[in-house]
Amino acid sequence: MFRNALGKTFRFLGYTVQYGCIAHCAFEYLGGVVVCSGPSMEPTIQNSDIVFSENLSRHFYCIRKGDIVIAKSPNDPKSNICKRVIGLEGDKVCTSNPSDFLKSHSYVPKGHVWLEGDNLRNSTDSRCYGPVPYGLIRGRICFKNFPRLINFDEPLHTLLHFSCWHICLLFVWMILPIKKKFEKVEGSGSEEGGRGAINNAFDIQLKGH
């Protein structure tokens, strides 16, 4: 009884560890669901919009001009910023505000990118803290505004979208071994059928004799 319970606990722990591995690798190398806050990317991304960011572009160094990226804040490593890439290394960018009379330009140094929010009047971006090192970029936003399936209030809505990503991963994790099991069962059935046919043939031969 005790051994049975212990066995079940260990099996459950094993499944949890397996799922944890999948979730961690997915979040690190594939991407995840992100909630954006603040007005700096309006009208493209509104306050409390939910977006999906992918991390593959960062690892393969294919972030392009015009992409919206999520990066670690240069002044605060614990917070993230969501801005558009205006210039890559070597590009000439305008470093002054749109309201300034005299425009100033500079070149983006090697290994850096120039980030700006879409809402230029209300955005703290590279015009304040300068070009951002490429190593700070975390991911690129590819989908935004998941459709509101049910009209929940804000915190529940956010929770629903975060859990959707986990549910997708759980589905992938569970469906693969089930599919394998299904194929195995089909295969053993046909083997038995074959053996049965050979036995029948042998019986017929014996009867004939």
């Binding site: 560890v17 397996q18 944890g20 591995c21 999948i22 961690h24 690798c25 690190e28 160094y61 990066a71 670690k72 804040s73 240069p74 002044n75 605060d76 490593p77 614990k78 140094p109 090697k110 290994g111 850096h112 090192p133 490429y134 190593g135 700070l136």
Partner: protein
């Protein structure tokens, strides 16, 4: 199973990695490092560590340098465009031990904390250089003014 292997490899490299460091003026050997959890380490013990950072000039490369000053400290630079620099908020000042031949903050300025990758703790290879890396700050490189906690 493959996923578990990938995860174990990744967590090994994120928690404790042995990295080959070559063409660096500090150490040309294997070093083992612990990834820094920025929240967990207090400001006092953070100084003087030898750290691995993602190079600001080339994101594919990691460079290994000593932390000389933290945010808020004022230091005297060697060969930087400004003679005295106050390290801005969220940044650190790193330098190689071999001044003059080192590509460090004296070339590219203060480094953002987000670029920190790991802390080097020991030299593993070659065996004759097996040692624990000590957090020593050369006295001539001490900050002129340190921000009080």
């Amino acid at each position: 199973m493959l996923i578990i292997v990938v995860f174990v490899c990744r967590s090994f490299f994120s928690i404790c990695s042995s990295m080959m460091v070559c063409n660096e003026n500090d150490y040309s050997s294997f070093t083992s490092g612990w990834n820094i959890m920025i929240d967990a380490i207090s400001r006092r013990t953070w100084n003087l560590l030898i750290t691995l950072i993602v190079s600001p000039r080339n994101p594919e490369q990691k460079i290994i340098k000593r932390v000389i000053a933290l945010e808020g400290d004022i230091i005297k630079t060697i060969g930087y465009k400004k003679k005295y620099v106050k390290v801005p908020h969220g940044h650190i000042w790193v330098e190689g031990d071999h001044h003059g031949h080192s590509f460090d903050s004296n070339a590219f300025g203060p480094v953002s904390l987000g670029l920190l990758h790991a802390r080097a703790t020991h030299i593993l290879w070659p065996p004759k250089r097996w040692q624990k890396l000590q957090p020593i700050l050369p006295p001539e490189r001490k900050p002129l003014q340190r921000e009080q906690e």
